[in-house]
Amino acid sequence: MTAGTGELTFDHLLGLEGMDQTRITALLDLSQRMKEIGERPLKKVPSLRGKTVCFFFVEPSTRTKMSFGVAAKRLSADTMSLTASGSSLKKGETLLDTAMNLQAMGPDILVIRHRAAGAPHFLSKHLSASIVNAGDGRHEHPTQALLDMLTIRERLGRLEGLNVAIIGDIANSRVARSNIFGLTTMGANVRLSGPATMIPKGIDQLGATVVPSIEDATDGADVVMMLRIQKERMGSDLFPSDREYHRQFGLTKDRLRNAKPNVIVMHPGPINRGVEITPEVADGPNSVILDQVTNGVAVRMAVLYVLAHRTGGAK
C-alpha cells in the first residue's frame, strides 16, 4: 500500500467538530482507496505490520468494534482488546489506571468507546498512544459520520448542496452530532426532525435547521438518515410509546414520496424494525444501510493508517 498521507496527519481522532473541509475530504479520499483493498481476493496489505492497535470498549458495541477489528487486520496490525465486562473497571480501577496499564503494553493506537463524553479527550491528555474516539457518550462518533459521508459521496457524487434529513433522537445521538459537524462543514443542508423532547434547544446554532414534521424533513431530500431510538439511554419521558413514535416519526414508503427520486436512506444501526423505519424501506431499493457497514471498514482503515504514520513507523 503506497497511499501517501500527504499533509494529512493527526495525533488523535477525537471528533469532527473543528475539522476543516480539506482534512475531511482527504480522509474520505484515502478511505475510497482503502475500500479497494476490501474488494481484492486477498484482502490484506502490510501497511501496519508491527503496529499494535488496542480496542478498549467500555460500552457495548458489536459492529463498530468488529469493523475496527477488520480494518486493523486488513492493514496487518496486531490487535488486542479489552471490554468493560472483562476489565478491572468492574473492580473499581479508574479509567486512567486501566488505560495506563494498557499503554504499558505498548499500543500505537488506542480505540476507545465510553459512555462518558470526553473520555477519549481525557485519555489523550495522559497517554502517548494515538486515541481514536469510537463513540463517547452522547458527544461524538467521528468514524460513523465519516463512513456516512463516504457513502453519500459514493452514491450521489458530492456532499455540497445536498439536502440531508436527520430524523429521530438528536439529543441522545453522538452519530447526529458528528454528522451535523461534518456535513455542515462540507456544505450540505442539514434538516433535523423528531419529537421536541429529542431535539436539543438551540441545535440550529450548530448550522442545522430544525423542521416541524418528518414530511418537512423529507421534502426534496437527497438523503434521509434515520436514528435509532436509543432505549438504553433515555428516561421514560421522551415519547409515549413505540407505536406512537412509529406513527408520528417512523420512516415509511409513503413518507419517502416527497423526497428526491434517487434519495438514499441511511441508518447507523442497529435497527428497530417497525419503530423508526419499516422493513420495506430498510430493505428497499433506496436503502444503503449495508453499504454503510462496508464503508465503515474502509474509513477505519484510513483513520488507523493516518494515525500509525504519525509516529513514523510503516512507510
Binding site: 467538530e17 479508574t94 479509567l95 486512567l96 465510553h114 459512555r115 462518558a116 463524553a117 470526553g118 473520555a119 479527550h121 481525557f122 457518550g137 452522547r138 458527544h139 461524538e140 453522538r174 452530532r177 436539543p200 434547544k201 438551540g202 441545535i203 446554532q205 450548530l206
Partner: protein, 439 residues
C-alpha cells in the same frame, strides 16, 4: 481608651461605613474588639504591638457563608484545621461549614464536634450550618433549636431545594420560630438530577446532560413564596443565572425578605471553559453562559446580590482525574476568591465597594451579626491587611488548603493578604498544617 489598647494598625486605608469608603486612619484593638478608629495615635502607641499598614488596605475580615470543611467524614480532602488556615490565608476570618458532612450535621453531637474542633483550629472562625431536615433528605425537620443552642448559625436545605413544597414551608416556619436564617441552594432537583453542566451552546456541542437555567429560577421563585408565606426570610446561596436574577428582582419588588449570593467562579468563568473537559470546571451549579455572568455581575453592581461565598469544595487530584461526567462537582476557593474578585475590580467589571461589602457586611447581615464584617467601635476585631497593588498568579501548590482542585490555577490575582487578625490576634500560617492523624 488608650490605656486598654493592645494593638494598633497604623497608617492604612481603613474600609468603613459598610465598605462604602476607605479612609486613612489608625485602628485600635483591645480584648478582641475594635476600640477606636482614629487619626491621632494614642500617646503610648509605641509601647503596644503595632502593625504598619502604610499603603495597605485595612478591611474587615471576610466572611464566607458556604465552605466545605470536609470534617467529619471527608478528611482526606480537607479538615477543619486546614480549612481554617486556608481561610485565614485568603483573608477570611469566618467560614460557615456546610452541613453535608458524613454524618450530616443534623444533630447536636455533630455540631458540637465541629465547634470543638474549630476552637482548636488556628485560623478563621468556623461557624456550623445545620441541616434543616434529617440527613438533608427533606422528610423530617431536624432539631433546629438544639442545633442553634449547640452553635449552628443557620440551617440549610442542602445542595438542591427540597422536593416537597409543603416541607419547604415547614422549614421556613420552624426556622423562624427558633430564630435561624434559612439557606436555600435554589435549584430544582427534578431538573438538575444527573446533569453535569449548564444547558446552552456548550452542552449542545459536548452532548453532556445539562440543566437549564430555569431550574434555578423555578426553585428560587417557589422558595421565595414559601418564605413569604411563613413570614420569614430566605437566603439564596448561589444565584448564577440571568433567569435567577430576574426572579430575585421580582421577589424583592414584591417585598419578599430575600437575600442572595453568588460565587467568585460564577463571576469569572463560563460554560465555554468546559470545552476541554477539564474536571476542575465541573462545579455545582454549573458554569453558565456569558449573558448569565453579565446578569449576575449587574445584580452585584445594583446591590441586588449582596454576598459572595467561595463554595470552597476541596478534593484530591485523584478524585478529579476521572471522566468529566463521573466527577464530583467543586473547586477550592478560599485562597483565590479575594484575588480573583479584585482582579475583576481592576478590569472595571465590578466596583470595589460592592465586592468588599459582599464579602463582609453582606454576609454578616445574613447571619444577623452586626458585630462582624465591619471595622467599627465595639465590633469583633476580625481584620485583614491587604497589599492591594500586587498582582500574582494563582498556584494551587502554594496554597494551604489540602484540596488540589483549583479552577483558578494560573489565573491573574490582585492583592495579597499580609495580615489576618481573628479576635484581635494575628493568625500564624503554617503550610502543610492539615491534621494527618484525623480520627
Amino acid at each position: 481608651m488608650s490605656t486598654e489598647t493592645r494593638l494598633v494598625i497604623r497608617g492604612g486605608r481603613v474600609v468603613v461605613d459598610d465598605a462604602t469608603k476607605a479612609v486613612p486612619a489608625h485602628v485600635l484593638v483591645a480584648d478582641g474588639r475594635v476600640t477606636g478608629i482614629t487619626n491621632d495615635l494614642p500617646s503610648d502607641w509605641a509601647s503596644v504591638d503595632s502593625i504598619d499598614a502604610t499603603g495597605r488596605l485595612v478591611a474587615p475580615g471576610l466572611i464566607c457563608l458556604r465552605t466545605h470543611v470536609c470534617e467529619p467524614g471527608f478528611e482526606w480532602r480537607e479538615d477543619i484545621r486546614s480549612a481554617s488556615q486556608a481561610a485565614a490565608a485568603g483573608g477570611f476570618t469566618t467560614i460557615c461549614a456546610r452541613p453535608d458532612t458524613d454524618p450530616v450535621n443534623d444533630v447536636r453531637a455533630v455540631t458540637e464536634q465541629i465547634v470543638t474542633r474549630s476552637q482548636l483550629a488556628p485560623g478563621a472562625h468556623v461557624f456550623p450550618v445545620g441541616a434543616a431536615t434529617l440527613g438533608l433528605k427533606g422528610e423530617h425537620l431536624s432539631e433546629m433549636g438544639d442545633l442553634r443552642d449547640a452553635g449552628c448559625v443557620a440551617v440549610s436545605t442542602g445542595e438542591t431545594s427540597l422536593r416537597s413544597t409543603r416541607m419547604m414551608r415547614r422549614v421556613f416556619e420552624y426556622a423562624r420560630s427558633v430564630g435561624l436564617p434559612v439557606f436555600s441552594s435554589g435549584e430544582d432537583s427534578w431538573l438538575s438530577n444527573g446533569t453535569v453542566m449548564h444547558e446552552g451552546q456548550a452542552s449542545l456541542r459536548l452532548g453532556m446532560s445539562a440543566v437549564p437555567p430555569e431550574g434555578e429560577a423555578t426553585a428560587m421563585f417557589r422558595d421565595g413564596l414559601m418564605a413569604h408565606l411563613a413570614e420569614t426570610s430566605v437566603h439564596f446561596q448561589r444565584v448564577t443565572t440571568a433567569a435567577g436574577v430576574r426572579v430575585l428582582r421580582r421577589l424583592l419588588e414584591d417585598g419578599v425578605q430575600v437575600t442572595a449570593g453568588t460565587t467568585p467562579h460564577h463571576l469569572c468563568f463560563t460554560e465555554d471553559d468546559v470545552a476541554t473537559f477539564d474536571t476542575n470546571t465541573r462545579v455545582d451549579p454549573p458554569l453558565r453562559s456569558c449573558a448569565d455572568v453579565e446578569a449576575v455581575r449587574q445584580a452585584l453592581r445594583d446591590g441586588v446580590i449582596t454576598t459572595i461565598a467561595t463554595d470552597h469544595s476541596p478534593m484530591t487530584s485523584i478524585e478529579k482525574l476521572v471522566e468529566y461526567e463521573f466527577c464530583e462537582p467543586g473547586t477550592t476557593g478560599l485562597e483565590s476568591a479575594l484575588g480573583a474578585l479584585l482582579n475583576l475590580v481592576r478590569e472595571g467589571s465590578l466596583p470595589l465597594n460592592r465586592v468588599l461589602s459582599a464579602l463582609t457586611t453582606g454576609p454578616a447581615n445574613v447571619l444577623r451579626r452586626h458585630d462582624l464584617g465591619r471595622i467599627a467601635e465595639g465590633a469583633v476585631a476580625d481584620i485583614i491587611v491587604v497589599q492591594d497593588s500586587i498582582s500574582w498568579r494563582a498556584k494551587g501548590e502554594q496554597m494551604l488548603t489540602s484540596g488540589e482542585n483549583q479552577l483558578f490555577e494560573g489565573r491573574e490575582m490582585i492583592g495579597q493578604v499580609e495580615v489576618t487578625l481573628v479576635d484581635g490576634e494575628q493568625v500564624e500560617l503554617t503550610p502543610g498544617g492539615r491534621n494527618v492523624d484525623f480520627r
